[in-house]
């Protein structure tokens, strides 16, 4: 079979997944495949700017149970850049608010003939549950604190563009690890590709159990800065419940904000990343966010590339699986 409209994009032999639910379950090879395809698609669309018709005729449904502008739009644009159509569902004011279970909502959407359901939900495991109930492709756009695979992938792609091989790099994730799906996806993706991951934050947000799993834990950012090739600054969230875990925003910023003084303690070629939206003055000061080491905006562009790759790969695997089911043994 050929999914390729552009002659120089061949469907990878080793790709069989119809769903992208997390990075934990992916092999290093699979992760590299998505990154390679993302890079190719980024180039083919002139930096995710122009349209190609790789996925024309297919529809991507966003099913978001949590508010999101950038991720939702990023997926939407990714689908459109490849020629697919998009449709939006959100839980506010919808059938879910009227008491429909989320599985029924997803099945209804599937019945409208969509190829992919991109879903974001506050509870871990929801996309996994959907993948067992639906026949179309399921993409996890964030399931509570558990995972955000495309975020992890776009972060890694960004690092790769600047540094080549991930292997041997020291990457620190800083902030509210306990509640961060970005952190978890990065932890799995980076470690599978051979990076040394440091998890940094206050003890109430960074459990000592991470060391039992083989990861380095640090509570003082200043101590690890000289060793870091990359810093990924997670957003601190200030809801009431989280606020009990550290005394104040002011204190957090004093201990963990990436500012000019800390930049001077860092490597000359350190990369500064953040999943955004950033709280200027809390995790990161304006001079660093807008400075020469920051690749935050490149991350955003890579997000579209990675999501294009995911849509194309999952759909291809889905078609392949259906073709195999139909084809006779003699083939």
């Amino acid at each position: 079979m050929s999914n390729a409209v552009q002659p120089d994009l061949t469907f990878p032999k080793n790709w069989h997944r119809r769903h992208l639910l997390d990075l934990e379950s992916l092999s290093a090879e699979e992760i590299s495949t998505i990154l390679d395809v993302a890079q190719q698609l980024k180039e083919m669309t002139q930096g995710c700017r122009n349209k190609i018709s790789l996925l024309a005729g297919k529809t991507c449904a966003n099913l978001f149970f949590e508010n999101s502008t950038r991720t939702r739009n990023s997926f939407s644009l990714a689908a459109k850049r490849l020629g697919a159509d998009t449709v939006e569902f959100s839980s506010a004011g919808s059938s879910v608010a009227k008491g429909e279970t989320f599985i029924d909502t997803a099945k209804t959407i599937e019945a409208m003939g969509v190829e992919w359901v991109v879903t974001r939900h506050g509870t871990p495991g929801t996309p996994h549950l959907l993948s067992r109930e639906l026949d179309c492709c399921v993409l996890n756009a964030g399931d509570g604190p558990h995972g955000h695979p495309t975020q992890g992938l776009l972060d890694i792609l960004t690092i790769r563009q600047h540094r080549g091989d991930i292997k041997g790099l020291t990457v620190a994730l800083v902030g509210d690890i306990a509640h961060s799906r970005t952190a978890r996806s990065n932890i799995w993706g980076l470690s599978k590709l051979g990076a040394h991951v440091i998890i940094c934050g206050p003890p109430t947000l960074v459990s000592p159990r991470w060391t039992e799993l083989g990861f380095e834990v640090a509570h003082h950012l200043d101590d690890i800065l000289p060793r870091c090739d990359v810093l990924n600054l997670l957003r601190i969230q200030f809801e009431r419940q989280r606020a009990r875990l550290f005394p104040s925003v002011h204190e957090y910023a004093a201990l963990y904000a990436m500012n000019g003084a800390r930049m001077r303690k860092s490597k000359d070629d350190i990369l500064i990343m953040a999943p955004g939206p950033i709280n200027r003055g809390v995790e990161i000061t304006p001079e660093v966010a807008d400075g020469p080491h920051s690749v935050i905006l490149e991350q955003v562009n890579n997000g579209i590339a990675v999501r294009m790759a995911a849509l194309w790969l999952l759909s291809g695997a889905n078609e392949r699986a259906k073709a195999n089911a139909k084809s006779s043994p003699a083939d």
Partner: protein
Amino acid sequence: MNETANKDLLIENGRLVDPSQDLDRSARLLVIDGCVAAIDPADADIPTACDRLDASGKIVAPGLVDLGAELREPGNEEDETIESGSHAALAGGYTSVLCCSSTRPCIDSPGGVEFVRQKATKARGARIHVIGCLSKGREGEQMAELGLLADAGAVAFSDAPKSMPNDALLKRALEYCRMFDLPIIDRPEVPELAENGMMHDGRISLVLGLKGLPTEAEDLAVARDVRLAEATSGRLHVGPVSTMGAVDMIRRVKSRGIDVTASVCPHNLCLSDVELRSFDSKYKVHPPLRSEKHVETLQKAVADGTIDAIQSGHMPRSREKKMDDLDLSPFGGAALETTLATTITYMIDKQLLDWSAAVDRLSTAPAKIAGIAGGSLRPGSAADIVIIDPNQNWTVNGMQFRSHCISSPLDGHSLRGRATHTIVGGEIRYRLRPELQHIA
């Protein structure tokens, strides 16, 4: 299935296991007029019109007794009814079940007790004994009218599955209840430490990003419980427990001669938190599936008697409720129909319990803790009997449960052993359907 009115029954060729009489041997059991008449009766004593039941290759034991199953009626009949629950109990080999007070309205008045008793009688399933609320409205503030509840027939008091957060109230209730000589049952958990936990707080919950239930939430409550039991000399049963810390405290307190009893649920004897990696809500149970070291500690504690009883933890919830996302999905699942087989597969087959000890944990001890008749085949006892085929190998399938609840953490698991007949007062109220039988 027509129940025979004839209550005379001779059970032959079975292996009689009755820890209350130190019995474990091949023997005949004669039931006359609903009571155990004799073990190995003389032929002359067997009535001519007596029914006979061939128990070749099977275990004959006192019917199982459960220390706390939720029957959900009144108020949540979509989850379970007294009828479906009492019949699920029979299918699991239970002849007596203590039902939780956690209905809507809760059972904090004599009328509530009476309602359940009447429904249970009509259902003709396992015997249902009523646990009355410990506090008014299960609100944890004031003692319920425990004396009136006792008069109406309540056999124990508890707000389970809710825990008892008010230390002073628990202490007063323990003192007060001494005049009725009825046990108080506490499911130990400190609500503030439990917060919104969905699973055991450990390495797996960290990786999955799910809020955890830390062991401290249970351990602190157990510490409080045993201390108050000691201070008041009250009758307290702590359970179900699930942590190493709980086991440790109970062991120490028992060694000092304090009268505290404890129980555990079968799912905590065989499954660990690793199961939650599937995010399947059938594993969202309470107490939560803890890590392997807790499972091993609990197994040993049941083996050495530190934990006195195995209770089902039957917490049925409708399919619709369990199909929701993991956060919104309620804790619970069906357990009455799998507790016996789980005990056989994970405790007897692993040589942690022999048959006599297993029957003790499942029947004799819970009957004693609850202070009800049962757990014994001593001549003169009511003929509440379970016939178990230890050679039935079966795969748990929630769709085949008599319970309304199809969710079970054991769903899909292969288990050994099954009740083939459950007899209440000499009446065979349950027979295993032939199409469900799978002989090894």
